[in-house]
Amino acid sequence: MGRSNIESSFSHVSLDLPPAPPDRAFDRLRRRWRSRGQRHGLRYWLLFRGAPVFAGYGLLFVLNGLIIGWQTAYDVNIGITSPAVTALPALAWPLSIAGWLVAPGIAGAVAGYVVSSSIRSRRRRRIDNLFRENADG
């Protein structure tokens, strides 16, 4: 590559701007956060919607485990024990509801999405694209 090619490949539209400030770690972190929309569909939902929900669910379970006991928390979670008979029903009730309503509901919705997505994607590919190299990454 000749010198003129190097110069042209690095040419600014204009040189009348002050130098850009350096990219700090916080700036890169902010750009990474704002770029999260590049992920599509299920992956985006799992990372930015599902993960916080399940983190909250996990926190609820841990709190219950610490206060009402781990075995009791587990039994309340899967519906064996009524939250009303625990040491702190006000904390056990949300865990009980999450155990039989929220978690199975979300897990079922995710499974349903994966299955229906797989079914829908059948026979959608264009025959012209068969055996052709994918030029657009």
Binding site: S9, R32, Q38, H40
Partner: protein
């Protein structure tokens, strides 16, 4: 880890890997009074919004999604009615005036 929204500094180069109207990045920084930080913040916010529009193909992700969003955002800002004003600067000024 995924692609990042490109920095305006890099988009000022002629070979930046994106399809942009000529001189877009430079003009956008100029629009913000040559304040790189303000321009970059608004640029990132706009691309973030565009990533959630039909300008980005539903099945694309990663670098491809970022490329589509960057091109679409630049073309959006290059529209005649937006060429001389940043929509986020205008929005901020309008909110300030309402207060």
């Amino acid at each position: 880890m995924g692609e990042l929204i490109p920095h305006l500094r890099d988009l000022c180069f002629s070979r930046n890997g994106h399809e942009l109207p000529e001189g877009f990045a430079h003009a956008f920084v100029k629009l913000h009074g040559e304040d790189w930080r303000a321009a970059q913040l608004h640029w990132e916010q706009i691309v973030e919004l565009v990533l959630d529009t039909d300008a980005v193909a539903p099945e694309s992700s990663g670098a491809r999604a970022i490329r589509q969003a960057v091109t679409a955002a630049a073309l959006l800002l290059d529209r005649t009615d937006l060429r001389n004003r940043c929509p986020l600067c205008t929005q901020g000024a309008r909110k300030g005036a309402e207060v």
